[in-house]
Amino acid sequence: MNLSRKWLSEFVTVDANDKEFAESMTLSGSKVEVTYDLGAEISNVIVGKVLSMERHPDSDHMWICQIDVGPAGTVQIVTGAWNVHVGDLVPVAMDHSTLPGGKKIEKGKLRGVESNGMMCGLYELGLDERDFPYAVITPAAILGDYKPLDKNKPSIPADIQPGHKIYGPVVAARVVEVNADAYSDFEVTLETGDGSCAASTTCPNLHVGDLVAYNTKANTICTLADLHAQQAEFPHCIPDGIFILNEDCKPGDDLKPIIGADDHVVEFEITPNRPDCLSVIGLAREAAATFDVPLRLHEPVVKGGGKGNLMELLDVETPAADLCPRYTARMVRNVKIAPSPKWMRERLRAMGVRPINNIVDITNYVMLEYGQPMHAFDYRYVKGGKIIVRRATEGEHLTTLDGKEHILNANHLVIADEHRAVGLAGIMGGLNSEIVGDTVDVVFESACFDGTCIRKGALALGMRTEASAKFEKGLDPLNTLPAVNRACELVEMLGAGEVLDGTIDILNYVPQPRVLKLEPDRINGLLGTDIAEDEMVAILKKLDFQVEGDQVTVPSWRGDVIGMADLAEEVARFHGYNNIPVTLMRGQTTLGGFSEEEKLERQLGSMCRAMGFDEIITYSFISPTCYDKIRWASDDKRRESFKILNPLGEDTSIMRTTVLPSMLEILTRNYNYRNQDVRLYEVGRIYLPGGPDGLAVENKILSMGAYGEDMDFYTLKGCVEAILKDLRISDVRFVVPQETNPSYHPGRCAQVYAGDRLLGVMGQIHPLVAQNYGVDAQFYCAELELNDLMAAKGADPEYVPLPKFPAVTRDIAVVCDEAVTVGMLEECIRKGAKGLLKDCKLFDIYRGKGVAEGKKSVAFNLVLRADDRSLTSEEADEDVKSILAALEKDLGAVLR
């Protein structure tokens, strides 16, 4: 919400600069986003009066002007604009001046002639024709400027002289005298070869000596359009030029107040509970309370007396009464559509609204001032003189003011006549009843519609407008009448038409004022303050709450105030949030801490980091194509995911049921950034269907991923083992998956078990998956379920006495078939031992010379020990013998 401080000052006098104003308003609850000085970019631009003009000696299109700039004397300025005349008041950017867009003006020379500044056009001042409709330029076609499109076929001969015929009644004529009768209204004396004549014109680009095309029949000077000429044929006869001022001003005056650039605009962030603050009056009330100054409200006065009887001309029905709590309308006849006055245009513009014409501008003005959206219909298009507020029929068509056609349904509320819809209630008017140049009779609608209905309708049609944004928050039904009266008052003030007596006012819902009990102790109890009852009452009264005894009547526009806590907020806002004391919590102490799940997460994280893995954070939603990239079969059950019905895009449209694609994406990104030796981990969620209440089962996965020179299957396996050891998980087994995991290298993938409990999977990513991610590197990943890790987690350690007797070590190397795995050998060694074996460590696998083809030699280091005595060599040998026997018998592995 933008607020013009000039407009605000009509209702409340605040003595504070923008920064102070912004800070105070913010602290009382109306958050200021930013403030603008509309004229900040304009400096040293003043009004000048053209004293004399002469043609530039070295240019066929420039003029040298002497300009009276008041106390600063006279300055010489060279211009290329042709619409200037002696006596004109013009904006003069003096030497060392600034203009919008950061433009700086300094004196200089134009083709050798000194120019001490610049005369400004509308655009150079940041304005356009809508701000000053009177400054529109319609140029005459000046024959001296004619440049034929085809040099060989000129439409007008270069040596044309006054009196020569151009076509039909149009002849060439020379300007001998130009006199301005009024603003942009010129009396021109022409020489037509055989004599002279006078013509009046609004074309401002004529000067003595110019050759023009004169229509002898119509007695007019031809414009480009009259000659059916293109702009390129008359390159200097353009609808642009200097902004000739038609304002009450004199040479030397600062230009800013004249063009409304002396206003300051404050942009507020208004919270949805305060639609009343989406208006100048609403914010004025807050400002008055904030600065403790009086609020000057104005009661609209309508003279009325327009010819006709409103009740005979207009009838309103509201069959959809539940969606239209109140409908108020008045009528204006004999409307004269024209631009609205400058002060109104300036205020609208300051608030970010484009001026259009007096009637439309009045509706916008009232909406901004009162916060009540208004609509104006052209009465002649309200067939049958009947306005019906009803639900749209299924499939009903309506083209709105923005030219878009909509197909409606029963959820939409329309304003209709007897035959058809003429507007989308609370959203936008219909094109078929638009106010146009020849509109004569106007109906002003000031209504209150159901917020939810308007919100849903606007959303469904994708057209959230200023009006709908207000209605959707729920407006005060008591505001419609003052607003429509204000509109009529403005019509009369602007002389824009004749207001009929009487008002149509349909009240389908009569709101009862809400009365609350003022309980100072409870308010202080909630705030932790000691605010006196008097202060509370004073604050509430400032905001137009009525207080009698302990009864507080809430104003009709404060639908957000429903209970004690709301009153407490009002009191706190103006007592000052920052004046509330600062205390520490009291009461029963509570024991804080982490859950077991969180402790596990933290333990896993610190373990991963200790092993050089960096923590990452990835999105929970992925693209469905991710399942293809990790080569899940198209009928894989795990593809069944929570699907977002309104995703931002395909890439973030389903909730992942695996963390693998997220990890692969980040590994790939780092790989593409040429980061070397990367190790990453994340404790991430997966979202599986089947949770309670239709929610997801959100399991957490420890996801590890790595690549680089120091990474291979066994390195990652070592990391996984270290994590499991840290969790004191026992009976850990790495098993070749019975069913191949399509995402992993079929020969380098292990399922991780604790006993019979599957904890997860690890291994090298399948080369085809890597290829799907566009990399040719070996990626290694592990996925471990936190629920299972938690279940498999070992008990806290209990001290075991250190061995008292020395151990005996023996190294053995056995030769076996390639098919025999180290795991099988180890298991066999443990089985074959007679109870003295404490540890068995692989230390070498050898293939080659001395070992037959298809065989390998595997060497283990065995540690044997008894808890109650020193072992003898013989005892140790006995165990080793037994082990070797088992190896040979079970696996055909023989001592090398």
Binding site: L27, G29, K31, T271, P272, R274, R455, L459, G525, L526, G528, T529, G563, A565, E569, A572, Y577, N578, I580, P581, V582, T583, L584, M585, R586, G587, T589, T590, L591, G592, F594, S595, E597, A610, M611, G612, F613, D614, E615, I616, I617, T618, S620, F642, K643, L645, N646, P647, T652, M655, I666, N670, L680, R685, Y687, D693, G694, A696, E698, D710
Partner: protein, 341 residues
């Protein structure tokens, strides 16, 4: 003989002194003091002396022996020290050669900030809660007093899984307030960090997925002054003692009165600069006293109990904490970024 002893003594001492190594010294020891050594040879001749001469000569011989032994030991120690010194010299390293790299892992900066927040609240007796991200609209909105018409329920703002807008991705961690009220005994002191989702396109300050920490206290006689005191303590711990804060009125459907808390701009100290958009303050979090209707809906009597709640954006906190300029870095996970923390 006396002369002989004196000679041996002089020769031996000189030889010892000249010895360059432990081995040489040892051979000298054998040469003079060994069983076949020169001194031993002289001593063997003692028997030939007269009884009068013997004690004096014996004494002299012993003196010579002990002198030689002492000199040997001293020289031995000296050589040992020298040998050690030589060895150490030889072993000297170029200590400017870099150490063998140990790859250390790094905590994600956002979680570092979260850990700090958790530590502060746990110290104040808060329990850390975790909850679902796929959430019921009933808990995310209705039970938090944001009824049917609330704009944040629009499909343009919130992600939904069904046409009836029943199941959604939580748009805030606030449904954890409801879950806590429904399951925990009073008094309650919780924080609930986690992921939240809103329909925002990715840019330097927005992401469709981000993180919040919810905090809530419900007890008898809980006041807004307590809320201010607690949050001030948190901010001082996060951003340093003396960090200035201010509280502004705001609006949330589930708190009344509601506020936003600003911290004074760290860049300009409150004067106004581009970082704080000229305001001198930076918005940190939203908070307020729990709305009586929210308490009622969870079966807690607002006449007996009151409470406060807050929600803080984690990304923004981490970005401020570590001066990270662009939110996208948080989710990009470039190790060159991650390994700075």
């Amino acid at each position: 003989m006396k002369e002989q002893l004196a000679n041996i003594r002089a020769q031996a001492l000189a030889a010892f002194e000249a010895a360059q190594s432990a081995a040489e010294l040892d051979s000298l020891r054998v040469q003079y003091l060994g069983k076949k050594g020169e001194l031993t040879a002289v001593l063997k001749m003692m028997g030939k002396l007269s009884a009068e001469e013997r004690p004096a000569m014996g004494q002299l011989a012993n003196e010579v022996r002990s002198a030689l032994e002492q000199a040997l030991e001293a020289k031995g120690k000296e050589l040992e020290a020298k040998a050690l010194e030589d060895r150490l010299k030889a072993e000297a390293l170029d200590i400017t050669v870099p150490g063998k790299p140990v790859k250390e892992g790094h905590r994600h900066p956002m979680y570092i900030a979260l850990d700090e927040i958790k530590d502060i609240f746990i110290g104040m007796g808060f329990t850390v809660l975790d909850g679902p991200e796929v959430e019921l609209a009933e808990l995310n909105f209705d039970r938090l007093n944001a009824d049917e018409g609330h704009p944040s329920r629009d499909w343009s703002d919130t992600f939904y899984f069904d046409k009836d807008s029943r199941v959604m991705l939580r748009s805030q961690t606030s449904p954890m307030q409801v879950r806590a009220m429904d399951t925990m005994e009073l008094p309650i002191r919780i924080i609930a960090p986690g992921r939240v989702y809103r329909k925002d396109e990715v840019d330097a300050t927005h992401s469709p997925m981000f993180h919040q920490v919810e905090g809530m206290v419900i007890d008898k006689n809980v006041t807004m002054a307590d809320l201010k005191g607690t949050l001030n303590t948190v901010v001082e711990k996060l951003y340093g003692k003396g960090t200035k804060t201010r509280f502004r009125p705001h609006h949330f459907p589930f708190t009344e009165p509601s506020c936003e808390m600003d911290v004074q701009c760290h860049k300009c100290g409150g004067v106004g600069c581009p970082t704080c958009k000229g305001e001198g303050w930076i918005e940190l979090l939203g908070a307020g006293m729990i709305h009586p209707r929210v308490l009622e809906m969870s079966g807690i009597d607002p006449n007996e109990y009151s409470g406060w709640a807050f929600g803080i954006g984690l990304e923004r906190t981490a970005m401020r904490r570590f001066k990270i300029a662009d939110l996208r870095l948080i989710f990009e996970n470039d190790v060159r970024f991650l390994e700075q923390f």
